[in-house]
Each structure stands twice: as C-alpha cells, then as structure tokens.
Subunit: 536 residues, 2 copies
C-alpha cells in the first residue's frame, strides 16, 4: 500500500476539528472543521464538511465522554461556524477516493452514529443536536443520530438530504433508514424531502417530523440551555477514568501477524495474567489498563487498521492464548458488577467491538488448539467467525460464561449463540447447563464448532482452508458474509449495514455517480452530469 | 429499444421447458429445458439451466395450479433429464446480459419463488422438490423455495450453491437468505456449503439441514409417492376456473400511455362497470373475466412489461377512472366471501400484484382528480406510490374498505396503511372509523395524501414534479425508493429483495465478476479469472 497509513487513535488535546467542553452534567461537542487539516490531498473541508479524520475525532469524543466523564447526562452537538452546522461528507474527498475507501468511510461513520445511539439507549445520555445553521447531507444524518434536533429559525437555515438530487448517490450514513424507521417520517414526505436539494426550514421540518423544534436566532441558545437544564436536573457527580492511549505499534494483549503474500492475518488475543481487580473500586483503579477494556480497545484498533490499511488481507485467523480460567474470572467479575457504571461501559464497549468484527468485510476463521482460551467473552470471537477449526485433542477446550447469554448482542439484537442455534433453540439449554467447559468432542457434539480435524490432518486442513478462502472473489465473499452472518430478526442497525449500505455501494460504482459524466464526478465543476436514464 | 420485446403471457400448451401433469390432488411439474429454445441468442440451455423464458413458464404453471386446479394439494417439482435436476440460471446468458437485465431477471425469479411460498403458506398446497439428480445454484434455490426437499442417493447427485467459488457472484434467487433464515442452517455450515463448488450429497446434506431426506435410486420414486400420499390423504374435489389469456395489446381495465420522450408513463386502472356477481357461485361463473382478477392480471402484465421492456420509463403516474362505488362493491363481495377458495385466490393474487408494484424500480406518483376511483383495493395504488397529488376539489375523493385493513400485506408483513402511519398508529382508528369516503381536505387532514394543489396550480405542479423526478439519477432513485418504501419490520422476503438483491446488484457490476478478467466473464472459457484481491 502506497497510501499513508490511517491512524485511529487521537485525544481531545490533539483534536483539529472538534472542541469538547465539559460543564458538570453537560458536554458540548462543537464542530469547527479546519479546512486544510485533511487526511489526504486534493480537497478542502469547507463549511464544516468532513473526511474520515473528522469522524475519528467524533468517535473518540463520544468514547471519552462515556469513560472519562460519566457524570455527563446530556451532550450538545453544535457548530462554531456561523450559519452552518455541518455540510456533510466532503464531496471532493468522496469524488477522489477509491471505491473501497468510500465504503469503509461510510461504514466507520455509521458505526460512530450507532455508538451515539448505543450511549443514548444503554447509558441514558441524551444527545441534542443544536443546529445553529444548516445541516445538510451527513450533517443532518449526524443530527438524526441524536435524540432531539433543534434548528435555528433565521429565515435561511434548513435541514436537507441533497445527495439524490445533487450527487446521484444516497445519503450514506443511515439517513434514509433513520428517516422512516427511527423518526418514522411518512414515506411520501421522506420521498419529497430526500429529493429536495434545498431541504426544509423550521416550520415545515417540524411539521414533517424532521426536527423536534425551532427557535429564532435571538432565543436559540437560551432555548437549548433550558432544554438541557430539564434533561440534567437529576444529575449526580461520578468520577471517570482516563482512557490512556492505545499503542498501535505495540499491543499488550494482541498479536497481529500479517501474512501479506498469502493475503491473511493471524490475530491472537492474549488472556489476562497476574492479579486482577476483585471489586468495582479496584476496576476503577485499574482503569484503561483493566484487561477487558485494554484488550478490546486494542482489538478495535486492529480491526480498523485491517479494514482501512490492509485491504489485501482477506482472511483473519482468530486465535487466543492463555489461561481460560483467567478470562472466565474476568467475566464473573464483570457480571457481578454490571450495575456499576464503569463495568457497564466496559461491557458495552466489548459489545461494540464485537459488532465491529461482525461488520468487518473480511473472512474470519477461529482456530482452537491446546493453549487457546476461547472462553466466555473470547468465545464470542469464535461465534462471530464464519467458521471454526478445533483440533481433536482433549487439551483443547471451549468454555461459556454468563456473558455469552446476553451481554454482547449482535446488530440484529440476538446473542451470537442464539443466532447459531436458530433452528434448535433448545440447544441453548445444553450449552448453558451445569457443564461450562467442553473438549473438542463435546464441542462438536453440541454444534459449537465447524470442523474438528485430528492431529494428522490439522496442519494440512488449516493450510488448505486458508488457501481456498483467499483464492475466492473478495466481492462475492463480502456479499455472502453480509447475507449469512445476520439471520433472524432485523433492526434499524442491520438495515443500515445490510440494505442501505449495499445499495449505496452499488450506486457508488454506477457510471451515473462516478463515471466521467456522473453526478459525483461533476459536482462543483463547470461541466454537468449526464445520466443514462435506464432504470435498473 | 432494439431488443425484442419479452412477453410474459403463456399457457401449458405453449410450454417449451416444463410439463404440468395433474393427477387428482397431485400436480407434477417436470423440468425438461429445451436447450435451443432461448429468449435471446448466444447461449444454449444445457443441463436444465434456465433463462427468463423458462421462469415465465414456471410462474405461469404455479398460477394455473392455484386457479385452474384448486383440488391439487401437493406439487412435485422434478426433472425429466437423467442425473440432473436443474443447473440453475444459465451462466452464458448471465454473462452476455446487460446489468439491468440481470437485475430484472433475478427479481422476477425471486418473485416466482415467493409465489410458491405464498401458495404454500396461504393456500396450504405442499411443494415437494424431488431432486432426481444434482440441483446446483438456482436449481437448489428452486428446491429451497419448496416445503420439502428429497435428493436421490446415487453416489453422484448433490445439492450445491457454486456461485461464489465458481462465478464470483452470489446465488441471486434468495438462496443465501433461505439457507439461514428459512431452513435455519447454522451459519458456519452455510459458509462452508456456499463456498464448496461440488456441494454436498445425501447424508451430509441431510445432516446439515439442506435437504429433508435422501433415497437410493431404486426407491426414489416410491418414496416420493409415499410421501405425496401422506400429504394428499384428505384431498377433496374442487372445480377450478380457466385463466383465459391476458391480451397485452388490448387491456380491458387498463390504459397504459407511454410518454417516452419525457420518460414517464400514465397508467390508468378502470373501475368495473355493469352487473357484478353477487354470490361466490357467480364469481366462479365470471371466472377470469371477474374484474378483480382480470384488472390485476392486466396490471401485473403491464408492470412486468414496463420493468423489462421499457427501462427508460423512470416514473409511472398511477391514475384511476370510474365509479368508486363499483370498486367498493367488489371489495364488499370479496370480503364477504373470503373463505371461498376462488375469492381467497383472487385476493392473494391482488396482494402479489401490489407487492410486485412495491418492488418495481420505478417511481410511482398517484394522481387523484374528480372522476378518479382510488377506493378500497385501488386505494392501495395510492398508498404504494412514492407520493400522491390530489386536486383540491370537493368532487375528488378517496375511500377505504375492509380490504385495506389486512388483505394486501406488503413484503414486510404490514398493510400499506400501517406502514404509512408507523409514527401515529392511532390514525388508523380515524381512517377506519365510520366515515369511509374523504374529500381532498379531509384526506390531507388525515395524512392520506402528499400534496393537494388547487385548480390554479394543479397542471403546473404535476408537470414540474414529473420533470424534476425524471431528471434525477435513476440509480440513486432506485436505492432511495428501496430504502424508504419498507419501513418497520423485516421479513425473509424483504431481506431477499433488499439486502441480498442489493449486494448481488453490487457484485454484478464488479470487475471481479463482469470485467474482462472477471469470473462470470471467463466461466467455461480456456482463460482464467484473475481477481483484484482488495476487500471492500
């Protein structure tokens, strides 16, 4: 890869585009995009438009609020630019990006917005979009990820999704789905709104359910303040922890080996060692160094790195190493203290990282050998994999914990174990019975693993499986995995990642968008888009 | 269009590829594809592979069984070719087709398979796939649309989905979704199966849930017969009706005006006139000439024609003409006799046609004026539209009937009225209260229509709306409409038409499939596919 590597670690004192201010129970996240501070060349981030770098800061800020400022009950998202909240994803960045980058960019921004909603649903923090100016495209999609949206009524500011009429693509960050599924805007109104380049201003936007209120310029700030006051009246002080930097070059609980010539990676998660906290207070003291937080933050970083910086790696072999008992003790500790705010956040973060894995467009094989510790939370790695290989050896084991029964829901709302046994839900009783640890024969009998080769076949079988997988069409695998991983119910999230994303990916390749005469290609140029009007 | 027009009307005595035999309560549908009887040049339909022409016959046969042979309780789908059931969609046909044709082909074959499942769930007919030879790709996808699958155990025959490993595309007719959602095959096994070109034979196929049983060659026919006997033991004779041909050149209840230069069509449905049946027996006498059957069969034909033969028509203005009272009387008659087999089939067919409309990749505007009859079942046309325009005139009215409350579910399982009022379900009580007919003001107040221009603005507003709509990117509109039309719950059907279809459409454009070095392009040639292995 000749492209510069994209790093996903940042911190408030390094932000270029956002300011995070904490005032007791209120966090204010102000967007002030620096137009020259781009991740790549060739475009300027005018009018609070964004590229991946801007969104990496937003994702970091949401994460920090949850861990470092648990006392915060309301988060105001607003802009420091006059008359503009946010103009959405930068069009010239999109126009000059590769297809794969566009797809990964949209996926990450979607995950950031889902993380906002995750905070809101599970940690009860209220997100208020204070639109002190126009929110268009991704700007409105950011607003619609918040719980409440207020727009300034200055005769000019509007909310809009101009992607279809102006760019010939879809709003790519969940906007269409959230319009009809989250805000339940009537579909004919959603149709009109999504084809209206200039969008809608206060009164009609409110009437159609696109915003929750609008206030004249002179009363905007005080109205927002009043609403925030209502939302934070019962706030109490809580002490946060510091999210120390993840060292991408030197993970503590992760080994990442890139076999670039063979187009696959070995990713090994290491079990915790040494004394672990035995009370919630001790967990708080351990802070970011506590294994389930550090290991999963490292895993998150590695997944993002693989997605964006290692496109040629098509397969990840997931392995674990260490004492399964130590992993199970962690789970026991987390389960016993799940009502403590920090433990709750740690579990929710693990769940988000595991969903990031589910949504990663690479194949995953879990490899289980003696010395592995696919136990409790780490068993989820196996359950999230497209298939698993477990050596037929009495020293190889899998183990379940209480956390496998609901702590880590997939995007479809099911646990990975429920997804696995859709056909035979009664299996869940066997898996979660008195016996918690299973050797290879038992795991095979229970249906927990795909293949159980014996010692003689083991190396050949794994080698051939890897060779075969990495020889297949990467695009067909992406579509196949997206279709097989999420059986059963659908949610707004699965609609966003499945339906909307797939359509957007399709459109992102169409000549009408990205061809020489396409709308995305010609946006802002003196030339005009010309469409092939054949409907597909 | 220089392509020859594709016609969707056929009948058993014209079938080239299927034989339909009725023996009391058992229908046998045998596939015997004639390799030279193709819809286009450049390929041969070897090994019971199919093109759209083969599937048009299958769709017709399923429809005829329902209406002409209601006494049938079990349908056996099998092959007259030795050692092969069906090799799926013809690869050379796919390789030589335009992107738009491939997409429309897959959509139609999906609708045919959903129609089989619709018959099975709502009319109780059991579909048995008697696989007397290998079922690969679309062949297995046809089997998996049936209720039960039996495979011959001849040491050779297998079921398989070889699309990913051999062609670099997805099984495009719902196969992946039905694997994990209908048959609930474990996702790791589904992963292995879908990447295994040669597929699985009897024993393992049964163990993994891919089939329901397997029998040695010598016992195959008798085992199928025995199963059929079990299924049809309680059959009783019923008299069917004759499905007379739909005259595509001369619809009786439809006017289709193609404004090709402006890229839109006016499609007007006419209300029934004259005396109508007043008993179920009279309905049976009217047969295919009964308005709700004839009008909706004509509508179905027109929609298919627009999809496949008129790709440049991007917008359809739906209009109705005639006496709304006559439409409402029909609904009353249907509702009162819904337990009669023919009335049930007529209603189910109307529901399927309306779903075909929901799934058509064209924009729909409903246009309501004095003289329109958007009442009862025809109101569904308005509710299915992306938006509606109703002239502010006291002579323009809409009316609801009992059938709007559940007779015509969308693919997502909701009525169109429920979909419309997701945000305010209490509105349903107002809409379905004592008052059944609403003028423009009332319709607007209730939220039934999008816009209500007055006489002065009417013509201009419609003209500008049409011009604007047809100027937008047709691809962006397709993705947008697919995202906005199906809010709320998801079902296997919506997953197939939303998620799976969108991914398949994406892959159908990727160079790894259709480029000069793509797998689809190079299938069966001495040259080999070469992939760009970057994951997206």
């Amino acid at each position: 890869m000749s492209n510069p590597e994209i790093l996903f670690q940042t911190a408030p004192d390094q932000y270029k585009h956002w300011r995070l201010a904490i005032d007791g129970p209120v966090a204010t996240l102000s967007m002030d995009v620096q137009e020259d501070e781009t991740l790549a060349g060739g475009y300027k981030l005018k009018l609070n438009s964004y590229d991946l770098g801007v969104d990496i800061e937003l994702a970091d800020a949401v994460q920090r609020i949850r861990f470092e400022h648990p006392e915060v009950r309301a988060v105001v998202i607003t802009s420091l630019k006059p008359r503009i909240f946010c103009a959405g994803a930068n069009i010239y960045m999109l126009g000059s990006s590769s297809h794969a980058f566009k797809v990964n960019f949209c996926k990450f921004t979607n995950e950031t917005r889902c993380a906002i909603e995750d905070d809101s649903s599970h940690s009860g923090r209220r997100y208020i979009a204070a639109l002190n100016g126009t929110a268009s495209g991704g700007g409105y999609e950011l607003a619609i990820a918040c719980d409440e949206i207020y727009l300034v009524d200055d005769g000019n500011s509007a909310v809009s999704l101009p992607e279809v009429p102006l760019l010939g693509v879809l709003p790519g960050t969940g906007g269409l789905t959230r319009l009809v599924d989250k805000r339940k805007v009537r579909r004919d109104r959603a149709d009109v709104f999504s084809t209206l380049a200039e969008g809608l201003k206060g009164k009609r936007a409110k009437e159609w359910g696109l915003i929750d209120g609008y206030f004249p310029t002179s009363k905007f700030q005080e109205s927002i303040d009043a609403r925030i006051k209502q939302l934070t009246s019962d706030a109490a002080p809580v002490e946060g922890i510091k999210l120390t930097p993840v060292d991408s070059q030197n993970y503590k609980y992760l080994k990442l080996k890139l076999n670039r010539d063979q187009r696959y990676a070995d990713l090994t998660v290491l079990a915790p060692e040494g004394p672990q906290p035995t009370t919630a207070e001790q967990i708080q003291e351990f802070g970011a160094a506590y294994w389930p937080l550090q290991a999963y933050r490292e895993l998150d970083d590695a997944l993002l790195h693989l997605r964006v910086n290692e496109p040629l790696i098509g397969l990840v072999c997931l392995r674990t190493e260490g004492d399964a008992e130590n992993v199970l003790s962690i789970d026991q500790m987390l389960a016993a203290n799940r009502d403590h705010w920090l433990v709750r956040e740690i579990i929710l973060n693990m769940a988000r990282v595991l969903r990031r894995l589910d949504l990663t467009a690479k194949s995953f094989f879990a490899i289980v050998e003696p010395g592995s510790c696919f136990a409790g939370n780490l068993l989820e790695l196996l359950l999230a994999s497209d298939r698993s290989y477990m050596l037929m050896d009495s020293d190889a084991t899998l183990a379940v914990s209480e956390l496998n029964q609901g702590a880590f829901p997939m995007s479809n709302g099911l646990t990975r174990m429920q997804s696995r046994f859709l056909a035979e839900p009664e299996r869940l009783d066997e898996v979660f019975g008195d016996k918690k640890t299973f050797d290879t024969e038992e795991a095979e009998e229970l249906g927990l693993i795909t293949f159980a080769p014996d010692d003689l076949d083991w190396e050949d079988e794994i080698r051939v499986a890897i060779e075969e997988r990495t020889s297949l069409s990467p695009d067909a695998l992406t579509g196949m995995e997206a279709s097989l991983r999420f059986a059963g119910p659908e949610t707004m999230d699965t609609k966003i990642y499945g339906r909307l994303t797939a359509w957007q990916n399709w459109i992102f390749q169409r000549p009408n968008a990205v061809g020489p005469e396409g709308a995305l290609t010609n946006y802002g140029k003196p030339t005009q888009a010309h469409f092939d009007y054949k409907r597909t």
